[in-house]
């Protein structure tokens, strides 16, 4: 089955066209390359010629601390069973990445979705700016890390009121504070560790 030779071959192909910043082997069937933004198109077309004909996934990750978006392309070769992740960083402000639909036509809707959820522009994709999944969206793109869905939900959708019917028998008792403390911890776990 797929041997180390195969991985070496892919490494050669990628290193020929792109500057590899980081190589990673995740498991027997999966490797990852971190490359520069400008090399993505050449790498993808070289891999497509070498047999990685299927684009499995395309999306982005928001690294808000370093103010970058990371684009991810996952390719698969059915004959040699090896998944390749190609990752590239782009700037978060006015994020832009040339479309890859000339190489993989199947990327069209993934790019539209990434535009909708992250606000990344894809010049070259004919209608990436059209709304796809959201309708009349009136806030920042929802998958960015600085968007808080619970705040949006509280603002827009009325919530059902439930009465809190525990009583504090003894005001000196610490159990009331304990309940408050527990609620605070539950809230922090629920909101992804972010402070409200």
């Amino acid at each position: 089955m797929n041997s180390m030779n195969n991985i070496e071959r892919v490494k050669e192909i990628v290193e020929k066209v792109a500057k590899v910043r980081k190589f990673e082997q995740i498991d027997k069937f999966q490797i990852a390359f971190e490359i520069e933004k400008n090399d993505v198109h050449q790498t993808l077309s070289a891999l497509k010629l070498a047999g990685w004909k299927q684009l499995s996934y395309l999306s982005a990750i928001d690294w808000i601390e370093t103010s970058k978006f990371e684009l991810v392309y996952v390719l698969f070769n059915w004959d040699e069973a090896l998944y390749i992740q190609i990752r590239a960083m782009i700037e978060r402000e006015a994020a832009e990445m040339n479309s890859i639909i000339s190489i993989f036509p199947g990327a069209k809707y993934y790019e539209r979705e990434a535009h909708e959820f992250f606000g990344i522009n894809f010049p070259g994709n004919p209608d990436y700016h059209k709304q796809l999944i959201l309708e009349n969206w009136d806030d920042i793109p929802p998958l960015r890390k600085d968007f808080d869905p619970s705040v949006y939900s509280d603002r827009k959708f009325p919530k059902r009121e439930y009465s809190v019917d525990y009583s504090v028998k003894d005001p000196e008792n610490k159990s009331f504070e304990k309940i408050k403390e527990r609620e605070k911890r539950a809230l922090s776990l629920r909101t992804g560790g972010q402070k409200k």
């Binding site: 498991d27 069937f29 999966q30 299927q54 499995s56 996934y57 990750i61 776990l189 629920r190 992804g192």
Partner: protein, 368 residues
């Protein structure tokens, strides 16, 4: 003739799930068409970032409704790859049993769904009755009919109950004996064979352009392109099964492959029940640690062969208690969005429902 606008869905008996196909038609030939997704959008990927790794187990089955277990499997195996966690041997086999039952149930639902667009309701009644038996077996194993939350990080939640093997064998025997009946009612039925033969074909060249996987791909390219074979997960490399293929992809041959896959799944479950070792089924975190469970940094793409094709989770951890980003690759993404836009034009209006049914388009996993 003037071009006319026409909806198929979201409120339509021939439509599976809450999605809408918008068509511009001339006579009864579709000129342009596209899918309008998003009616089941729940902000899943955002919700997952806000829940603990363990809590996500409760959320993920809801990504795909007819076949929820693939989500649990993809998520759990992805997290295990990041954690470098070896799970007990018995858990692998139990997972396979659950996944194959889920595959049978999804195939039966899709095969019975043929009743909607073609008016063959007998088939639908038979298929749903058998599917209900699978749900009963799931209820005995996991406690729930539809959303099981059974495959968790580190194995499965609990061992199989005593005596369940007998129920499984009874069901598998009865289903196997009825497969010929299913063929007679559906794909070999003279009254609908004209309806499904040579309609909505998918040529092999188009497959690569669209990126279609699963039955749609295998029915066109005549190769055993199945993740269970080419990149086996769990213990699929230790069971014997065939991957049914064909080189002529019309509605009939895709349904034919579905029924053949049900037979293969039955064989796999039987082998699993035979080969399954005894032992523990779960690696548990230390007491009190489950809420503080952190996963090491890394990116992983974990994939499962679902009844519709390659289903994957792209998971990123930054070393914290919550996933940093989880992306879902719905198996019906290519055939649902690009397939309807590029490939449906030129066919007839009533074939749109057949495309949705036989290619297996599951709208919740497109929207998330």
């Amino acid at each position: 003739m003037k071009e006319m606008k026409l909806f198929l869905g979201p409120q339509h008996p021939g439509m599976h799930g809450n999605a809408s196909v918008h068509m511009f038609v001339d006579g009864d030939i579709i000129k342009r068409s596209y899918l309008l997704p998003g009616m089941l959008y729940r902000g899943f990927e955002k919700q997952m970032e806000r829940k603990l790794w363990v809590n996500n187990i409760a959320l993920i089955p809801r990504v795909c409704v007819p076949e929820p277990d693939i989500n649990e499997m993809a998520f759990a195996s992805g997290a295990e790859k990041l954690l470098k966690l070896e799970i007990p041997e018995r858990a692998h086999w139990i997972r396979m049993i659950i996944l194959e039952f889920a595959r049978i149930s999804a195939h039966l639902m899709a095969y019975g769904g043929l009743g909607g667009p073609t008016g063959n309701y007998t088939l639908m009644y038979h298929a749903h009755a058998d599917r209900n038996n699978i749900l009963d077996i799931f209820e005995k194993i996991t406690g729930a009919r539809v959303y099981h939350q059974y495959i968790v990080i580190g194995g499965v939640r609990q061992d199989l109950p005593k005596g369940i093997e007998k129920d499984m064998h009874t069901f598998l025997d009865s289903l196997e004996s009825r497969l010929k009946e299913y063929r007679d009612l559906g794909i070999d039925n003279a009254s609908i064979i004209k309806r499904i033969k040579d309609t909505i074909m998918l040529p092999a060249e188009v497959v690569w352009e669209l990126g279609v996987t699963g039955i749609g791909m295998r029915s066109a390219v005549n190769k055993a392109y199945d993740i269970r074979k080419v990149a086996p997960y769990a213990r699929y490399d230790q069971v014997e099964f065939e991957v049914p293929v064909s080189d002529y992809s019309d509605a009939r041959s895709r349904l034919d492959i579905k029924i053949k896959e049900v037979q293969q799944s039955i064989n796999i479950i039987r082998q699993c029940l035979e080969k399954m070792p005894e032992g523990p089924v779960r690696v548990k975190p230390a007491r009190g640690q489950s809420m503080r469970w952190t996963v090491p940094k890394g990116h992983v793409y974990s994939m499962v062969e679902s009844s519709r094709g390659e289903f994957g989770y792209y998971m990123v951890s930054n070393g914290g208690t919550h996933p940093y980003r989880v992306g879902v690759r719905g198996a019906s993404y290519p055939q649902g969005l690009l397939g309807i836009e590029k490939y449906l034009p030129g066919t007839r209006i009533d074939d749109a429902a057949l495309w949705v049914d036989t290619m297996g388009i599951c709208s919740p996993e497109i929207d998330r």
